[in-house]
């Protein structure tokens, strides 16, 4: 057995114990982690500082972007937010064991659809070390084991955070510390991607190139979180002041964010109007004119990334048509594309923004880490008792007691 297979086996074993851990146990583990992070704040800052110093040197020589160095930081409010996030997740409702469907198939034969953890999730992410803590907390809350691979620039920060989490988990009686594992090398990922027997889902968060590489190298289902090519379309009739304000937010408030507007589509009637003039003064990049909302929709569906697209319009009809026809995870009317975010959407926690069209799409909260299983309670029924001239299924919808199977 290779090292990576041994690691995946440990993760799988941890995931099986997590499947049966009660909400109380999972929350207790989060509480232990919260406490341990606060107690080890100095150690964390020390290791993070070492990462930043090394990265700063690389940035000075041009080998790394200044932006990336900035994203490595873990001090002040960033540290506080990270630690507080664990408490927030602890306080959330238990997403596991929720009944979403209950059907009486026949007398004494009742079917339930119940949410459960996916199992072992491999998450590949870049730069920001606080993702270790965010994802570990989300995974434990949802009963999943995770294998984490962070960016090498944050290696020391990722290692100390994982080690603190592991130490905290070793105080839990029910949850194995293997529930959160860290791997460091790229070759580890290539090996892990072959282990579809142990790993149930891989979530690559990063560039389109990373997501496509992962999709092309594994049998494991992939939930991709890639770049967006988001568009904002300025319709014929609109409030010019609103359009400019929203567009500036969408384009300039965080240009490298995945939900920032890249493409500006503008109704051709605005060309050579004062409105358009003041707009282009504020926005220097290329703009495409279109004759109508249908052309805007067609452009976005052909050239966009199916992430987030917005229409600024005074016409409800055009807005509805746009929101129905644009084949993207998020379609917005009269607001900034940058609202596409799990925290802004009120999900409390975010795994990322999915560019998939299956499983979970758009901003993904805890439910992206869950699937369901069916439970069927009988008293000796056989399928051969049913059919023409025999018993019939009743398929009676039962009232759903959402908490029936929660522990």
């Amino acid at each position: 057995m290779s090292d990576m297979e041994a690691l995946a086996t440990r993760s799988r074993a941890a995931s099986l114990s997590l499947q049966t851990a009660s909400c109380k146990d999972r929350n207790a583990a989060l509480s232990l982690i919260h406490k341990a992070l606060l107690e080890n704040a100095d150690k964390i800052q020390q290791e993070n500082k070492a990462d930043i110093e090394a990265a700063t040197k690389l940035a000075e020589s041009g080998a790394l972007s200044q932006q990336l160095v900035k994203r490595l930081g873990l001090s002040g409010s960033k540290f506080a937010d990270m630690v507080h996030g664990v408490k927030d997740i602890e306080m959330m409702d238990d997403p596991v064991g929720k009944t979403t469907l209950a059907t009486r198939l026949d007398d004494g034969l009742d079917l339930y659809k119940v949410s459960c953890p996916i199992g072992v999730v491999l998450i590949i992410f870049e730069a920001r070390p606080e993702v270790v803590v965010n994802i570990a907390a989300l995974a434990l809350k949802s009963g999943n084991a995770v294998i984490l691979k962070g960016g090498k620039e944050a290696a020391k920060s990722n290692a100390i955070l994982t080690s603190i989490i592991n130490d905290a988990l070793s105080q839990s009686k029910t949850i194995s510390k293997d529930a959160v594992l860290l791997v460091e090398s790229r070759t580890a990922i290539d090996e892990l991607l072959k282990l579809d027997r142990y790993i149930d889902l891989v979530i690559p968060r990063g560039s389109n190139a990373l997501v496509r590489h992962v999709q092309g190298s594994t049998r494991i289902p992939v939930l991709g979180h890639a770049d967006g090519i988001c568009a904002t379309y300025l319709d014929e009739k609109l409030d010019p002041e609103m359009a400019i304000r929203v567009l500036i937010d969408a384009k300039t408030s965080a240009p490298s964010a995945c939900n920032s507007t890249e493409t500006l589509l503008i109704h051709e009637s605005h060309i050579s109007t004062p409105f358009f003039g003041s707009l282009v003064k504020k926005l220097t990049e290329a703009v495409k004119t279109v004759p109508n909302v249908s052309a805007a929709i067609a452009h976005i569906n052909s050239h966009g990334s199916h992430h987030t697209d917005a229409i600024i319009s005074s016409s409800k009809e055009n807005a509805e048509s746009f929101m129905r026809s644009v084949d993207s995870a998020d379609t917005f009317w009269n607001c900034s594309t940058r609202f596409a975010d799990g925290f802004r959407f009120g999900f409390g926690a975010e795994i990322g923004v999915s560019t998939n069209k299956t499983h979970a799409r758009g901003p993904v909260g805890l439910e992206g880490m869950l699937i369901y299983k069916f439970r069927l309670y009988g008293n000796g029924q056989c399928t051969q008792d049913y059919g023409a001239g025999k018993k019939s299924y009743v398929h009676e919808k039962l009232e759903v007691d959402e908490a029936k199977f929660q522990i």
Copy 2:
């Protein structure tokens, strides 16, 4: 552009038109198909007969199994069921445009999560030609375009059914006949699996080898419908008569079905009892004894296929532990594994039984063909207006009007 890329482009165009087709339009298309199938019954029987004759010859020479020949048939009640299935699907509630979440992010900024079609779905299936009609009907109802690849033994039946569906769709004003396309060769599949730009989901229904081949050859998300290695565990305390009856149904009522029990686990206390004696007389295959329910769970989690597993027990505690801990799509108590089926579960229609742990698991009804998009309705909001010292999100749960966006 290759032939297959041209075909995928047509499918994608049809899918975009389907995204905006009303429920009335989609149902009208189903009605046209229903009528056309009845009107062309003779033609269908003729082509099906040709398939069966060719397959029978192959079976006589041993090149094909008799079982497969049997599955090709499309006469009598099988034809009636197939045609009636289209009407059943037409009568079902519209699954598209259903609101499942509504949140006020702030005054005048409302978020909705709305079900929508996935887009273009590639479905690979074997033998039974009625799958063409089942899947086409499910796809149209759920607003998806499909590309179908059936078994070569049913080539003539598949072709005539697709041609009748296409002719019927050509009478629809809104839905393109390209919504249902058929490809014939294996090489077509290899080409299509590269076209992740156009195809959103691939559903291989068949052997484990087929599912693994597809998973290993594409970036497109795969919803696998593979063989099951289902287990039934006979616990220490149980009703012997019930155990034998359920087991016979589970093992022998359709031995080649994916939900048939392969593995019999039996509590060691039953060895050398009269109960066990009468059991093994009825069941000739190998049996594994285990010392307790935990060992049964561990065996199933290590050696099973995560499809369907059952426990026969008089102990509710053991049953609950089994159902929670067995990591399978379906976990049953005191009934046959063969209940794992979309029709028996009351889903009305079935895409198959998924062995995935993401997107859709176990018996999959229409909802397996759906995803969702987020719609955000604003009046000029910018993300930079929110944050410390600025506006706050309210995240107020709104009452959900499920039908708000249905057309």
